[in-house]
Symmetry: C2
Subunit: 433 residues, 2 copies
Amino acid sequence: MIKSTILGVTLASVLISGQAGAVELPDPASVRTDRLQLMQGFPPAADRQITQASFMRPYPNPRWSFHHAREFFPSRRVARGNEGVYVLPRAEGQEQRIAGLTFTGPEGREMTFQQYLDETYVDGVLIMQHGKVLFEQYQPGVDESEPHILWSVTKSVVGLLATQLIAEGALDPEALVTSYVPELAESGWKGATVQQVLNMTADIDYSEVYADRNSDVVKYSLAAGMAPAPQDYAGARDLYSYLPTIGAGPDEHGVAFRYRTTHTEVLGWILRRVTGLSTAALIEQRIWSKLGAEQDGYMLLDAKGAEWAGAGFNVTLRDLARFAEMVRLEGKFNGHQVVSPEVIRTIREGADREAFKAAGRDYQPGYSYRNQWWISHNPDGAFEAMGVHGQMIHINPAVGLVMVRLSSHPIASSGQTMPYTIPAMAALADLLR
Amino acid sequence: MIKSTILGVTLASVLISGQAGAVELPDPASVRTDRLQLMQGFPPAADRQITQASFMRPYPNPRWSFHHAREFFPSRRVARGNEGVYVLPRAEGQEQRIAGLTFTGPEGREMTFQQYLDETYVDGVLIMQHGKVLFEQYQPGVDESEPHILWSVTKSVVGLLATQLIAEGALDPEALVTSYVPELAESGWKGATVQQVLNMTADIDYSEVYADRNSDVVKYSLAAGMAPAPQDYAGARDLYSYLPTIGAGPDEHGVAFRYRTTHTEVLGWILRRVTGLSTAALIEQRIWSKLGAEQDGYMLLDAKGAEWAGAGFNVTLRDLARFAEMVRLEGKFNGHQVVSPEVIRTIREGADREAFKAAGRDYQPGYSYRNQWWISHNPDGAFEAMGVHGQMIHINPAVGLVMVRLSSHPIASSGQTMPYTIPAMAALADLLR
């Protein structure tokens, strides 16, 4: 046990072995939102103040900022529309059974499902089977009605819409990216197809390593306006200026999967050109207004009003569950055929599992990445949407299971949570089978 | 007629005599939102692009930006809550009668009510009598479900809440400002009472002239984050840092009315200290969640998360009408006693009409300013909330009349619209009497 101090609280820290080697993490109980007093007071005490510059760090700022993102950035509404709320039915008496479920976690450690949630810094989790809510839990201090940033779960929403537009014939997956966005003619996307962007096998000169401050993802963040630019910053300050500056990668397009958020930003650009709608308006018209959502969601924006198509969607946990259940039901939900069944079947087919290995994501063995979704290829046909810091949609069609979770894990990489989530989801499926 | 060019459109301009002398205004039809193509395209054409820096100018940017303010600034939700929508009842067949109503405008000009609306660049207007909607109209291109910035109508919402807290004994109007906010001990508010801030008779070293770029209102705007600071800017970048830097005025407190937005920022600070709630949460809990509103509203924020208490509330036209009707009904609305009747009676009493004259607002003859509301002292007992660029709530208790209007007039000062609004409201009252 190592002692460290964050915000004046002495934390009993635990050592957890992750992909990046042993990292030190604070005791989750010591960073509970209701105890931290972040952004409380007028003004807040200096060490409780969060600004746009400290939205991501130091920890534990994300415990508050991740469910108040609009208070730090420009945002565009994704309205729930005028339909009544689709109330999620509930199956009572399942909470204890699920919380107490035991499974073998990383390094052979026996743990309960509740430990899994706590130790992965969950802000909210909701589990449904066959359309009924079995389990719903929030970190104390998190308002269930407040949208939470989805990070890269956003990509899967955008990818779903792209797949729907392909099914309708409005978007050609074999067309060149540059046929939709000529501005990218001299960029690394030259010669890449829409499908290669969807599957992230287009090769570009761009690295995305969250723990490396010299990674290109930092340039992306500054262009998107996710953090204030340093005084001497001379790079792009909006996404439409930034994306064309990304050069070609060393490899051929279509060979290797490498996870890059900028692919989804390009996809978002393509969809705007195809539909004439902003990403927020597209999600609203095609999906969010049909789910019987409880709350409006929103997209975060860059300095010129372009959405962060790869990272910026914010919704409530329950509304995310409605979305996930719609996907599980092949688009049929709340009296609407929201997307066509073909869309979900296409995604579930997955992509090349050999190509996936290039990304070195050993914590997702056997996976592939198709149209911005993670396909497990396990016997139950589970597939997933994932975002940094522990955001997730997990859908297990064989068991009729949906889990959505929102969280504020201190470490961005999904390599922190997946070694827990994969065995936890397997145990949960077996319990409910 | 003078020709000028804005956004490549040749405008037939009209000369209108305002308080600041003759100013040139564009033909309203030439700056209709649906024709301007502002922020259309991905990216928008350079002359259709609006950013935080161009939110206010050049014109006609406000025709789009004023109903998309959250897309340029951080914001905090003011939720409508979980109650059903209170559907406003309607009295049919009144539109033509009102649109065609004629009255004598400035300089003896005969004009119709519709001309009044068009020539004051209205984005939306809603008129009710005895609780029924008689007239509702939007500028083409304005989405009725999208919140619009209220500017200083915000002050009246905050003033209403202050008056309610006084009625409850939670806030002492005779107490010193500094007893609630000791940070202001060395500022111009030293020695001023809460009531003097409410009535804007505390005297501070601060000028608010919208047409003067050297006015203190520019410093306020930069501190609030309403515009990006110039590179060489060394002043305060948040409201809690800025307000204590404002010095004492030359006069005694309590003598002369002078309209200063910073008074309301101080009032907002006081209410946060008294209630422990952010301004957004206070409005939500006390008012917005009880109105049966259709949409969530929101408050704009400075860089450290403090609301623009004097300017930053955004709601839809219809929700503003619900609020105004609640005020007309002395707080009783939608099955709630939202504020106590005493609160509305206190406001309607008005304040010292002699003190009001110090502000030189000749376009509001006979008025006084009480608790952040404009009191006409006319025979019908009309009282108002007003914001720059033509925002307004007009309540005529004798006729049971409420008018709310949202607009994007090219000139900030209410001296542009009031010479039309006062005779227009008088004619409307006579029509409905």
